[in-house]
Subunit: 150 residues, 3 copies
């Protein structure tokens, strides 16, 4: 095995990074399936070629579908940049305990965000709090990385 690979595997922070990255990627992948499920249930599709063999299906928008798409877009806006900047943060020599806590809090917050936004709608500020937790962690990591590499 190449040297670089074994060094990553010996680094507990990088191991934690790929563990939580997997959980976040799987959550994002779920959004596509969930959008598809909602489209089937409401028979609402976005492209004419999707409805050819589905009786009663139409090209339209439906609030239940759009809600899932908004939650998905929020993931797309937030999670990829978290996955880049948290790598930068790991390089700033942070404590293992703090980093693990931040990865766990971020991942949990994003799962809660999806749940209260797109699965079982819970009144605000449930979504604002879960979104804000992930947002604050990302800002903290970005500012830490910025000041470290200044």
């Amino acid at each position: 095995m190449a040297q670089i690979v074994s060094e990553v595997l010996n680094n507990p922070l990088l191991r934690a990074y790929f563990f939580y990255a997997s959980l976040l990627v799987l959550k994002m992948l779920f959004m596509s399936l969930w959008t598809g499920t909602k489209r089937m249930k409401t028979k609402t599709f976005s492209s004419p070629e999707d409805i050819v063999r589905l009786p009663k299906a139409k090209v339209s928008t439906n609030e239940n579908v759009e809600r899932v798409r908004r939650a998905h877009l929020n993931d797309v806006e937030n999670i990829p940049i978290f996955l880049v900047i948290s790598l930068g943060y790991i390089l700033t020599n942070p404590s293992y305990a703090v980093t693990l806590l931040l990865f766990r809090a971020y991942t949990l917050a994003r799962y809660i965000h999806t749940f209260v936004y797109a699965i079982y709608v819970i009144p605000q500020p449930a979504r604002a709090f879960s979104w804000g937790t992930g947002y604050a962690i990302t800002i903290y990591m970005a500012v830490s990385t910025l000041s470290y590499f200044w």
Copy 2:
């Protein structure tokens, strides 16, 4: 040259990663040009400042433009997380042949997805199959990474 760079360059999996990442990034960049081309053809733009010197252009939406934008958004939802999780997958000590096959299948599937969605519309399940191939590969890599770093 720094040690870390030469180690990446000596790792065939990482070399393959950056080769296919380039192809995927170039495909995504093409979507912006293709959207612009469709906007010009249909004289449909999204912001008032875009139409000032274009006679007959209007701020509106057009299905030919929206179709390209949906294909682009599908890239944005899927490709960046693939590029993160496939790095994690490389660290799980996979076989070179399997990894290369997965990179090739993923890249080909995403090129086909764009073609049948936004360039020359082919009836379903062409798009569903090409999308599903990339989706299944991403899930496989994410689950492999998750179980490896558990």
Copy 3:
């Protein structure tokens, strides 16, 4: 400190990478706050649960909000793939001066893009030029990476 971390920290190109990545991530994070500000000002929200305690607020779209969302989506389409491919470019043994120039030009171009699109609208081709600068740099890096790892 792990070997891999100290090697990254000794590599001036990777140090520059994480510095400019932080600036780009912070700019993207700003878009969410700016969207929220515009939503509050125009009392326009996307989900019914957001307006419960806000008198006169409605679920609707508003051009001032949509403009910020378009600028944000443009970031989402462009910046994450830049952050992946610029890592590949660093591995192609580029000169430090050129790489630093490209990082600076890209970051500046994206900040200008946001400013002229979503903060203070400046007539075209201000946005086209700033977008095109980032686009051209990303293509250059992707083609360099592709040909290096061919």
